[in-house]
Symmetry: C4
Subunit: 318 residues, 4 copies
């Protein structure tokens, strides 16, 4: 008896980060399995076994399930943009940002793989055996997000920034003791509902990834599974937008929440004052760094190369 | 360290009303961003990425998110009709009614602007570049509510009165300690569900604005954004109905709740008696004022100009 | 000041039954207003502003709102079949059954009237001005339930019995302290969800009234509003089925819950034993009465007149 | 009075297993009544009174209702795969697995029968009086699950394994005190939502039974009700897959939860250590048994008969 006990104890992962990575991998795996499987169901059944709304709802339920699964282990970020926001807010050590993000991408990759195996027969029948990114029989959109034809790169970027900012703006108060928070044990379904709202209102332009891992993981998978290099090159190298824009948006939404709401709430009794101070301090440290990146990115996005050159000249002369 | 602390403290908005206005602006912004973006998604995707129900659900989720966001700051009225009702009930000082309403309209205006930017490309493609209020390519209905062709002005007015009365009648018991209230931390999703119910059952006639800010804010925006004066003149100057009728309906619903339910509930132990008395007292004060406005408005709505003149004559002679 | 207080006190309805009737009238009014208005919205918009599911959801949300509204006043039965079941279970005095039922019918009648006024223009446009029960332009189904053409009277009756039995079987455990109950403050949305389930699965045959008041109130209204006597005579006097069958079904469902679940649950500590005993005692009292009615009704339904005569003869001879 | 009391006491079922069986029969009956009735409603109304999503939602609400009904009596497994998983986890005695499973199948059988009676007229009208498994007028799919034409047996098996594994992986944390669990009184709607998610994302291939009783009970019923032997032989004897695969999947999902999440959570204060130990110990006991079955089954599924013979030869020679 005591031997079994020892065996179990030995199997317990002692390193906290390792446990957290395991949690994030499994959580993101569950999230993407629900979401991509629903997309596959709707696509391959030609909307007879579900519709656009089903996919939105499945992602929402996936968020709920993933949060209940790994919330106690890793905080259930499930999204590098959320992890970055929590770094900025001082709730996650910066050193953990990369491991978290990689774990999330890995979970998404594995889930896409499993969805591909489950729906292999149906995808082959739907696509006529040719895995493509374009055309009426394309199947890449089961896994990854794409913009519509009419959307410019600036609008796509803005769309993803706003979507992710809304995500952070709407989930931060849910757990803020100084605000009027939701019941802690019911956070998962409520966060899921927020995600449902975003995907019902901001997915027309480019699919509401609002999550670099949700897009990059499956994209890497379909790249390796035979969809070809087009998955990266198509729509003018669109793939970088769901990678970068959510990071900017998440931080932006967090800052909006801090500046317009959190700072003005009544301070809690004793320890929270310290907390609040630490949070602000850490946030302050990162301030210039974030500002610099934001300016740099926005310059890259909203100006053509020529305009940038002109502006650089202007700065030199002034 | 103590310098940073001081900086933060200095940035804290000390004036309560200013904080509340900030809260209402941001809350209504979130509500309208979800709602109008969903309407834009459904419209510009020609119902391939959502349907009528999506818009209803997005407004409902918007209510939930907005309430969690600013409930602790400003009470999350998000609606001048709700603010007016709380003034009548004695929960909001009359002096704050105008600032609250303007803040809500501002939030709605800003949200419409952002939706316009996000969906700019899609709106241009859908409308062929011509922003109009009428016709198959009209895009004004993304932002504001319009009546159907067959609905008379009286019916529209009644429709909005009933919708807003239902809103107040259904949300007042949720937070009434003398009744059997909902869990306080779950009020936002439940109020969101009430709004979903109203928009699924009373939006056929004229779009279930039930909120002057939800209609006026976006209307002002599309007026400034190039839809022209038609946004106000169309449908026989319909725009005044979602401004006035919800105010009447909100107060009416509150009074129905007071008279038929609240007064007859068992009085709570000690302090609530005083509260109840104060509430009734304040309500009493406003009684004649409200009555007068109601009569005046109903006269304006339900009689033609000639009939009014006749009635005025009658009164003089009697 | 003390005068106002006195006025208020005088306006408080002292009679408990009068308060309860007021609560049931208002509660059923809210329930039917949501439900019938949604039906009107879907019908008159020719399914462009909602679909079959919308009506189901609106009734479900109506149940939620009505329960929060009048639960503390009258128990929020909203349904004579529920009131009868609670009489049988000993939770409502038999003397109150008729007043409760009439109040519920009145609330339903008033709600139908208001829906008619709100959707008057739309109904006139849809029906071409002729209010009928049959044909592609019929509008009676906005208000009342009808069977499909293929359903026999026996099946209709069984359908309503099963639907209402499911209702009682599924809501009784929600509030049973001996079972694993739902949170009391969240009963309304959960009961609403149960109703949604029933109307999604058992409304194909004859519309899932499962509530005599929900059907009779509106039926009386459309009779008085100009749809003519056909509202009662159509489909071979179908109207009696949603009146009688739910009463049988409600009691049946309650008995099933008692016999198969409740009796075998662990008895609670002290007082509940007495409660349980009283409940059983009262139930025992009503036993023969219910049995007699059930047998009588089933005889009426499942046998033709001739068979009944034969059976009566058989009984005489034996 | 004391006589009645005695009668009641005598009617109380004293044997715990008998009570549990009663609970599982009634619970599974409720689950299947909602689900199959919704399927019948959608099918026989030719999708005018519901759609694919309605059936998913009805099953989800059925789970909720069934759990509230019998959770305190039998734990509300409602699914032999769940019962098996709880045996493996040490929460249910192995001796009870068969009685539980048979009770669940019986409940499902009875519910199918009642659905058949309620929808008898509609089914006859839809099918033209011929109860068949194939063709446009087939009605077997109201009751049981079938694969699509393009899905291979391996994919079907994998699909059911993954679906049931997701079920266990997502519901185990909901009630795990060491994790961040959901409120106990709200488990039923949350588990229902998980089931909704699975049926929206993994039902395209073969209908997401993820429950041997949900499939076998109705299948036995329609076999006896006149659909003929085809209900078992069709689609190359598909019926065994929803029987066996969920058992494998349920256990697999439980093990994944244990190994990747549960073992690494902080141990609770005092007694839970013992609990955890016992759980692991019991799990250890079953380890080789499960492993053996899994290997055996996977061999049967993933290899042709010839390959198995070759592998057996190989083993003999080595």
């Amino acid at each position: 008896m005591s031997r079994i006990k020892k065996v179990i104890k030995r199997m317990k992962v002692k390193n906290e980060l390792a446990r957290q990575i395991m949690g994030e991998v499994l959580g993101t795996f569950v999230l993407l399995l629900f979401g991509c499987a629903a997309a596959a169901q709707v696509k391959t059944s030609r909307e007879t076994k579900g519709q656009f709304l089903s996919v939105n709802m499945a992602f929402s339920i996936g968020v709920m399930c993933a949060m209940y699964l790994c919330r106690a282990v890793s905080g259930a970020h499930l999204n590098p943009a959320v992890s970055l926001s929590f770094c900025v807010l001082g709730d996650l050590a910066w050193i953990k940002l990369l491991p978290y993000s990689l774990a999330q991408i890995l979970g998404a990759y594995l889930a896409s793989g499993l969805v591909y195996f489950i729906y292999h027969d149906a995808i082959m029948e739907f696509s006529g055996g040719v895995l493509t990114v374009f055309g009426p029989n394309e199947t890449a959109s089961i896994f990854v997000t794409y913009p519509t034809d009419v959307v410019s790169v600036q609008t796509s970027f803005l769309d993803q920034v706003v979507g992710t900012a809304m995500l952070m703006l709407c989930i931060l108060p849910l757990n803020d003791k100084r605000n009027a928070p939701a019941p802690e044990a019911l956070l998962p379904p409520i966060v899921g509902t927020v995600v449902l709202g975003i995907s019902m209102s901001m997915s027309a332009n480019c699919g509401a990834a609002i999550n670099p891992a949700r897009d990059l993981g499956p994209r890497l998978f379909i790249f390796t599974a035979g969809w070809g290099t087009e998955v990266f090159t198509c729509y003018d190298y669109f793939f970088w937008i769901p990678l970068v824009a959510p990071m900017v948006g998440g931080v932006l939404g967090s800052i909006i929440y801090l500046v317009f709401i959190q700072w003005h709430l009544p301070e809690p009794e004793d320890e929270s004052d310290e907390d609040s101070f630490v949070m602000v301090y850490r946030w302050h440290q990162n301030y210039f760094y974030i500002l610099y990146i934001s300016v740099y990115i926005s310059e890259f996005v909203f100006f053509t190369e020529e305009e940038r050159r002109v502006r650089a000249n202007d700065r030199e002369y002034n």
